[in-house]
C-alpha cells in the first residue's frame, strides 16, 4: 500500500475522504430502503391515501382558483382584453383551419403530382 493512499488506514475508513463515510452508510441502507419503498407504494393504503390527498388538494384549491379566474376574466373584460378562454377558443379554430389547409395542400399535391415539395 502506498504512503499516499489514505484509504490504507483502518480497513478502508478514511477520515479525510469527505464523502467516503456517507457513501458507506448509503450503500448499506439504500437497497433495503428501495425494496421497502417499492413495496410501500404498491399497497392499497398508499393508493388510497394518494387518491384522497389529490382529491383534497383539488377540492380545496378549486374555489380559490375559480374565484381568481372569474375576477381575472372580469378585469380583462373591463380592459377590453381577451381572456385565456377567448385565446384558447381562437387557437382551437386556428388548428381546425390548419387541418383544412393541410387537406387542401394534399389535394393540390394529388392533382399536380409534379408539384415540387
Amino acid at each position: 500500500m502506498s504512503k499516499s493512499d489514505p484509504k490504507a488506514n483502518n480497513n478502508g475508513f478514511n477520515p479525510f475522504d469527505p464523502t467516503g463515510m456517507l457513501k458507506g452508510m448509503r450503500d448499506s441502507n439504500m437497497d433495503a430502503w428501495a425494496k421497502m419503498m417499492v413495496e410501500f407504494v404498491n399497497t392499497e393504503a398508499y393508493a388510497e391515501s394518494t387518491g384522497a390527498m389529490l382529491d383534497a388538494w383539488l377540492t380545496t384549491s378549486g374555489p380559490l382558483r375559480k374565484a381568481m379566474e372569474k375576477s381575472m376574466a372580469q378585469a380583462l373584460a373591463e380592459l377590453n382584453l381577451p381572456s385565456r378562454d377567448d385565446i384558447s377558443r381562437l387557437a382551437e379554430r386556428l388548428t381546425h383551419i390548419e387541418m383544412r389547409l393541410d387537406d387542401m395542400e394534399a389535394q393540390i399535391d394529388e392533382a399536380l403530382p409534379t408539384r415540387s415539395q
Binding site: P6, M30, G62
Partner: protein, 368 residues
C-alpha cells in the same frame, strides 16, 4: 479442514498535508462537475433533420440521410414517441443515438414530435392523435419519401397510438410495426403502480382534468418517479456521484437527465381516456375501444409486428404488452424480450449491442 488466518496489514502512517489537500481539491472539482450535470442542459437531439410538416404543436422531421440514395432502404421509417415526453431520447447524443444508428444503416428516417399541449388542447383525445394527426403525418411522409409503404415504431403511449392506428387504418401502407414497451392490456390490476393507483376509487381522472385542464408534466413525472422512489430521487444522483470521475458516464447521465427534466403536460382528454377507458376498463383488449365512433379491432392489424418488451419495466410491466400477440391479425409477428427498463432498453448501455441491432435486422429483412 485446515484454515488459515491472516491479519490485514494496517498502515498507520498519517496522510501528508498535501495528500489531504489533493483529496479535498478533487472533491471540490467533483462537486463542481456534479452541480454542472444537475443544473445545465447537455446538447441532445443533435442529428441533422429538416422540418417537413407541422399541425398545431405537432411536427414531422426528416433526418438528413447519411448513405447514398441507391444504398438506402426503399421503405421509410417513422418514429412515434409518447405524448407526455419529448422524443429526444431517440436521438440522445452524438455517438449514442438510435436515430444516428438507423441512418447509418440506410433508413429514410422520420420523427413525429407531438409537441407540448397548450390550454387550448385540453380536450385532445386519442381519437385526435390517432385519426386526425397520424393519418396526416403518414400522408406527408408518403409524399416526401415517394413510397406508398412505410414502417413505424411506437414507444410507450406512442405504441398505443400506433397500435390503434394500425388496426383502424390497415390499408394505409403500414408494412412493419415495431412496438416498444406498449401499454395495451390492463387486465392485471396488481401489475405496476400506475394501474394500481388509478384503479383506486379515490382516484378521479375527471376531477383532475376538470380542475387542471391538461395534466401538469410535474404530476406525471413525480408519479413515474414514485414507482421507484429511492432509485429515482436518490439512486440516480448517487450513481452520478459514484461515476463522477468517468467522463463517459457523466456525459451519458447528463444527456439522460437533460431529457428527463424536459417535462411537458399531457392533454386532459387523452389522460381521461387513458385512466377511464384503458386503465380502469381495459377497453382496447376487450374490443370495446372506440375512436371517432370506430371500434378498434386488433384483428384488423395486419402489419408485420415486432413487439419489444422490457423485462424490468416498472412503468409498462411486461404483462401489459404480451397479450396483443394473440389478438392481432398479423401473420408475421415476433415478441422480443430485452433485459432492462422502460427507457434503458433503448437508451441504456446495452441498447447498442442488443435492442438496436435486433430491431434493425428485423426491419432490414422486411424493408426490401
Amino acid at each position: 479442514m485446515a484454515t488459515t488466518e491472516s491479519t490485514p496489514e494496517v498502515n498507520n502512517e498519517f496522510p501528508s498535508f498535501s495528500d489531504v489537500c489533493a483529496q479535498w481539491h478533487k472533491a471540490a472539482e467533483n462537486w463542481d462537475k456534479f452541480h454542472r450535470a444537475l443544473t445545465t442542459d447537455a446538447k441532445i437531439a443533435q442529428t441533422p433533420k429538416q422540418l417537413v410538416w407541422t399541425l398545431n404543436k405537432a411536427k414531422l422531421y426528416r433526418y438528413t440521410p447519411v448513405v447514398p440514395e441507391e444504398e438506402r432502404k426503399p421503405i421509410p421509417f417513422l418514429m412515434v414517441f409518447a405524448i407526455m415526453n419529448r422524443p429526444h431520447v431517440l436521438d440522445l447524443r452524438p455517438g449514442h443515438s438510435f436515430a444516428e444508428y438507423m441512418l447509418r444503416h440506410g433508413y429514410d428516417l422520420y420523427l413525429l414530435d407531438w409537441g407540448a399541449p397548450g390550454p387550448e388542447d385540453k380536450n385532445m383525445k386519442f381519437d385526435d392523435y390517432t385519426l386526425e394527426y397520424l393519418p396526416r403525418v403518414v400522408r406527408k411522409l408518403k409524399k416526401v419519401s415517394g413510397s406508398d409503404q412505410f414502417s413505424m415504431l411506437g414507444w410507450c403511449l406512442g405504441a398505443l397510438i400506433s397500435t390503434m392506428y394500425a388496426a383502424l387504418r390497415p390499408d394505409d401502407g403500414l408494412k412493419n410495426l415495431i412496438l416498444l414497451t406498449a401499454p395495451l392490456d390492463f387486465e392485471n390490476k396488481d401489475a405496476g403502480g400506475f394501474v394500481r393507483w388509478s384503479s383506486d376509487p379515490a382516484f378521479n381522472a375527471d376531477i383532475i382534468v376538470e380542475k387542471l385542464g391538461n395534466v401538469p408534466g410535474e404530476m406525471i413525472d413525480n408519479g413515474a418517479k414514485m414507482l421507484k422512489p429511492i432509485e429515482n430521487y436518490f439512486g440516480s444522483f448517487t450513481m452520478l456521484w459514484d461515476n463522477i470521475e468517468k467522463p463517459g458516464s457523466v456525459e451519458a447521465w447528463h444527456a439522460m437527465n437533460t431529457w428527463v427534466r424536459d417535462i411537458i403536460p399531457m392533454a386532459g382528454g387523452a389522460y381521461k381516456q387513458l385512466i377511464n377507458e384503458l386503465y380502469k376498463e381495459n377497453r382496447l383488449i376487450n374490443g370495446k375501444m372506440k375512436l371517432r365512433g370506430e371500434t378498434v379491432d386488433l384483428k384488423r392489424l395486419k402489419a408485420n409486428l415486432l413487439n419489444v418488451i422490457a423485462q424490468a419495466d416498472h412503468i409498462t410491466p411486461p404483462c401489459q404488452s404480451e397479450r396483443i400477440m394473440d389478438l392481432v391479425g398479423s401473420e408475421d409477428k415476433e415478441l422480443l424480450r430485452v433485459r432492462g427498463g422502460h427507457i434503458g432498453i433503448m437508451a441504456g448501455r446495452g441498447a447498442e449491442k442488443n435492442t438496436w441491432p435486433h430491431m434493425e435486422s428485423w426491419l432490414a429483412e422486411r424493408s426490401g
